[in-house]
Amino acid sequence: MVITEKEKAEMLSQLAATNVSHCIQCGRCSANCPVAWKMDVLPHRMVYALLNGEADTLLEANSPWKCLSCFACAQRCPKGVSPAAIMEAVRLTAIRSQGGNKLNPNELENYNDKLPQQALVAAFRKYNK
């Protein structure tokens, strides 16, 4: 299954659960971020990218991996937006898509029918769908 960029962005929005439409692009988050100078996409740009559904920009940025989760950005945002939550959403997505299924459905015929159903459920990665 191919996930479109739009769907990825929707998933990131759900995970981040912060209201990016409130952002006025003032840049206070970036100005407060202690590691902004190491980031390729500054916190306010991460917010803007999510607002515009540019999931690939978010997923390819190095910023979430520089972020210290200090929450300075969220605490000082005048609009109650949390760039930190977007950083976390990207990290979660990356972690969840690590590792594939433990079974290949096409090879199931090689197993005998005693294979417990529960093992099947456990062997497929649910959370990267």
Binding site: H22, I24, Q25, C26, G27, R28, C29, S30, A31, N32, C33, A36, W37, L42, H44, R45, A72, R76, C77, P78, K79, G80
Partner: protein, 662 residues
């Protein structure tokens, strides 16, 4: 038999788009006593009103129901229309089928059904309507203006010039407000004091104006045209009649630890002080909390040095009472506290200042005689950073949700002040967006960039750090270049949000004037009645109604004055006849009603009444003062014997409406 006429308005497509008006007409025609019903495109138009009048004549109608917009909109129109054809205006009922029906519903069947229900209720009520006759009340030809800033001064001058008496009530020792503190004013950069002080003098000299400074509103009662006001004139501890304003006392006072309010804490003042040289009145006041004589009993220097023997330590607050026809609120604004913005360094470094402090630092009459220096070092700065929107446009609990409106313009002004006098000082303004609508305003801001070389950076300052030597580091972002900036200015100026005066909420409740969630006074209609409060006789002028600059404040002040003059020019006001009335036959004299009436309109009076048995008896009954009663209805529900009724909204009328709905 009653003859009720029902008139259903389409309001163009506002009502007719959602309500089947013809079906409403058909439905109400079936109701007994409805002698005539019709629908029309615009009932409020001249044609529509003619249709009503013709129907009254043709069908001999004696009471009318108009199904239309909110009664706030056109009840008065239709009452006048009825009156012109000889029907008492209070025999008209409005069924609001627009705001309460067509505008809030989408489904035609549902909306039509609701419109019919509302019409039925109004018809049920109108059966019990009685002709009512408004009384008259006198108008006291004197106005009170609360707040003596530019708004209050201008309103008072305009009212006084029209020939009416006006009193200005100012809590500070002088009139003038914030404009007196400002150095120069945008967009023309003329000296603020030079244009304000002549107005202050005009107000002081005007034969129709009385100024009460260092005074507070103590109590208010009454109603439009007839307010009874008590003013507390706080003890100045100086006899104003004999003080010559020489100021010797203020120089010799040894208690000099109090930060000057007028100079925004940039210098200290004595316990006895005159806020600034052009203060009106130019009479000092003793701050009793700071005065050694009041605190320890020792000192008395001022009374020794005063050549006129004007100092009076025994002076007491004085209460004065006065009657007014109208009251204008002009209590202005303050800047927000910056405690919640610790990261910006205010309070931690003296070189982080507010914009108002900068005004004092550049003002020739200020603590540094207009010499711009960093407060911590006393040295001229080499570079200055100005931060916009501090606490404005902030929806978190730290700030204010609104745009303070004046800061973008004064930031440009401040940048130009500095570059004009000190061309070598670098000035950077951080902004989210530059908001400069207004005549000549955008041109003014562009001059800062184009002629004065001020750096405008789109982005915000995140934090301001101060090292142990007091050097500042500003962390900011430049959104246009995508760069993260670190600057080392000598002075940081915070353009912080404005908020209404501290007492705005208290005054609003004393005057029953409405305020919004930010404590700005609310206007009666945001577009059509912008200088009137919803409470009759209370008017609004200046920043107390919302952020605005001096040109806007002055226009609004004039508009408020025009409204006051319009009111004071009337000899009599019609009073609302929908007041409470006591049925003395059944009133037991318990006087519960007097306890719930917020306007003090009811009193217990001993009089001879005819009882239910027809006998005469002398006892206490509740009597309503119709001039004071505002028709709120509290007494009618509190009365245990149901003897209180609200004319125009009697228990019988309300129950008839409810029954028609159920």
């Amino acid at each position: 038999m009653q003859k009720i006429g029902v008139f259903v308005c389409w309001c163009g497509s506002n009502i007719a788009g959602t309500v089947d008006v013809a079906a409403v007409v058909e439905a109400v025609k079936k109701i007994p006593d409805v002698a005539y019903a019709v629908d029309y495109k615009y009932m409020c138009s001249e044609e529509g009103q003619k249709l009503i009048k013709d129907a009254v004549v043709e069908y001999g109608l004696d009471r009318l129901v108009v199904c239309s917009c909110s009664p706030r909109m056109h009840e008065a129109t239709f009452r006048k229309c009825a009156e012109s054809i000889g029907i008492n205006p209070y025999m008209v009922e409005i069924a609001n089928i627009r705001e309460q029906c067509s505008w809030v519903l989408k489904d035609v069947a549902v909306a039509t059904e609701k419109a019919i229900q509302l019409a039925k209720a109004a018809i049920a009520k109108v059966r019990f309507n009685d002709p009512l006759h408004p009384g008259q009340s006198q108008v006291v030809k004197r106005a009170l203006v609360i707040g003596g800033g530019i708004a209050g001064i201008q309103t008072a001058l305009d009212i006084a010039d029209a020939g009416y008496k006006v009193d200005i009530l100012e809590k500070e020792p002088t009139i003038g407000g914030k404009m007196a503190q400002i150095d120069k004013t945008f967009p023309t950069l003329d000296c603020s004091a030079c244009i304000l002080t002549p107005k202050m003098v005009d107000a002081a000299c005007h034969e129709n104006i009385t100024i009460h400074t260092y005074s507070e509103l103590e109590a208010v009662s009454g109603y439009v045209g007839n307010f009874d006001v008590t003013i507390r004139k706080k003890a100045r501890s100086v006899k104003a009649e004999i003080c010559s304003g020489c100021g010797i006392c203020t120089e010799k006072c040894p208690a000099r630890k109090t930060p000057s309010e007028f100079d925004e804490g940039l210098r200290n003042r004595g316990a006895i002080y005159i806020p600034f040289a052009q203060a009106i009145p130019k009479v000092p006041v003793i701050d009793r909390e700071a005065c050694l004589k009041f605190k320890t009993g020792k000192c008395g220097v001022c009374s020794i040095v005063c050549p006129n023997k004007a100092i009076d330590y025994t002076q007491e607050d004085e209460l004065i009472t006065e009657k007014y026809g109208a009251i204008v609120l002009a209590t202005g604004f303050e800047l927000i506290d910056l405690d919640k913005y610790g990261e910006l360094g205010y309070g931690r470094s003296k070189n982080v200042i507010t914009s108002m402090q900068l005004e004092r630092l550049t003002n020739a009459a200020g603590p540094t005689e207009g010499h711009l220096v960093c407060p911590a070092t006393g040295k001229e700065p080499k570079s200055v950073v100005i931060v916009s929107c501090v606490g404005s446009r902030d929806t978190t609990e730290r700030g204010k949700t609104y745009c303070s409106k004046v800061c973008c313009m004064y930031n440009a002004k401040h940048a130009m002040y500095i570059r004009e006098k000190y061309p070598n000082v670098d000035v950077t303004v951080f902004y989210i967006d530059v908001r400069t609508p207004g005549k000549g305003f955008d041109e003014f801001q562009r001059r800062a960039v184009e002629e004065y070389g001020v750096h405008y950076v789109r982005g915000q300052v995140g934090k301001v750090l101060s090292d142990k030597d007091g050097n500042l580091t500003v962390f900011a972002s430049d959104l246009n270049s995508g760069k993260h900036l670190m600057l080392n200015p000598d002075l940081v100026v915070l353009a912080c949000a404005v908020k209404p005066a501290k007492d705005a909420r208290k005054l609003a409740s004393m005057l029953t004037a409405s305020i919004d969630t930010n404590d700005f006074y609310v206007e009666a209609h945001p577009k059509l009645r912008p200088v009137e409060s919803p409470t009759a006789g209370i008017f609004l002028s200046g920043m107390c109604q919302g952020p605005k600059d001096i040109p806007e404040t002055v226009s609004q002040a004039g508009a408020a004055a025009a409204k006051v003059i319009g009111l004071l020019a009337k000899d009599k006001l019609m009073t609302n006849p929908c007041t409470a009335k006591c049925n003395e036959k059944i009133c037991s004299g318990c006087l519960t009603c007097t306890k719930v009436c917020p306007y003090g309109a009811i009193s217990g009076v001993e009089k001879e009444v005819i009882t239910l048995n027809g006998t005469r008896e002398k006892r206490v009954v509740a009597v309503v003062n119709e001039a004071l009663c505002q028709g709120c209805g509290a007494c009618t529900v509190a009365c245990p014997s149901a003897s209180m009724d609200l004319q125009g909204f009697t228990n019988k009328q309300i129950l008839a409406e409810v029954d028609a709905l159920c």
